[in-house]
């Protein structure tokens, strides 16, 4: 029972944090909040998670959640990675503009 309370309050805190975010898009906030709500529900009623898992052909609800977690984590890592590549590209362009805007000329320019 203690673990349930602990997990649900953590999820609620996360939900509050996400709900107060102004930067992320409405779609992202909605998706994350829905997932948190489903998570909280399954914490409260693990037997329902078991039922869903069994309908899908997975042994226990905990196993199902773990599989989903792996898939989601991998997708997030890939998305973040692509984001980093994109940021790198922008950083290169920025550095290039900077370099091009400040050429240092040699002291002796009278050479042929």
């Amino acid at each position: 029972m203690i673990i349930k309370l602990l997990l649900i309050s953590l999820l609620a805190l996360l939900a509050l944090f996400v709900a107060l975010q102004r930067v992320t898009s409405r779609g992202v906030r909605f998706t994350v909040l829905t997932m948190l709500a489903i998570g909280a529900y399954f914490v409260w009623r693990p037997e329902h998670a078991n039922a869903v898992a069994q309908t899908l052909g997975v042994g226990r609800g905990a196993d199902l959640l773990m599989y989903l977690w792996v898939v989601i984590t991998c997708s997030v890592i890939l998305l973040l990675y692509l984001k980093i590549v994109e940021l790198n590209r922008m950083l290169t362009q920025l550095a290039r503009r900077l370099a091009l805007s400040q050429p240092i000329h040699p002291p002796d320019r009278s050479k042929p």
Partner: protein, 232 residues
Amino acid sequence: MSFTPSLNLHEVYVVVPAYREADVIAETVGTLAECFPHIVVVDDGSPDATAERACQAGAVVLRHPFNLGQGAALQTGIAYALEQGAHYVATFDADGQHAVADLKKMLGVLMGNQLDVVLGSRFLGEPEGLPRVRLIALKAAVLFTKATSGLQLTDAHNGLRAMTAEAARKLEITQDRMAHASEIINQIARLELRYREVPVTIRYSEYSLRKGQKVRGSVGILVELLVGWLSR
């Protein structure tokens, strides 16, 4: 293969990407400056005196605020050369392994034969002091290039190149680090540029070997190319 008798070297911008080359950059720039009036050294965020020494030796210096990689440095230098109205752009390594005479020969071939790009090849020429392990790695790069671009080249990773401004404008180096050499070749194939390889002599000094790509770098290059392809 004909030579144009009067090479107008004022139309040529020589781009030299440099990172931590303070020991040799002045010599490299000095040798180039005997023939070429326009030398652009791109200091790729070196913590040492590379930029100052290159400038003292007579090059225009562009400084990346931090290290981006040789591919990025080349692209910056080429962009500058085009901005300045270059007719021809050459790339030349900072570590003194290339010969100025070879570059002049390549420019002669480029100007006299209606080509877009001329690439230096150490295997058509005479590599001096090339260790066997590196030879095998370079040959593997040639096979890889053939498989991915379809170009039959003898040397895929030579830093000595000469191209017309038009060709330089079409090339877009997005591989910031070492995979740019393969990328340039892939683009030559894709853009159907007219190219030729010219034998050049590479001087493998102790210094250039210490600084040059390590064999294990080849694997890194492969990964860079794959990632670039994935994130396209």
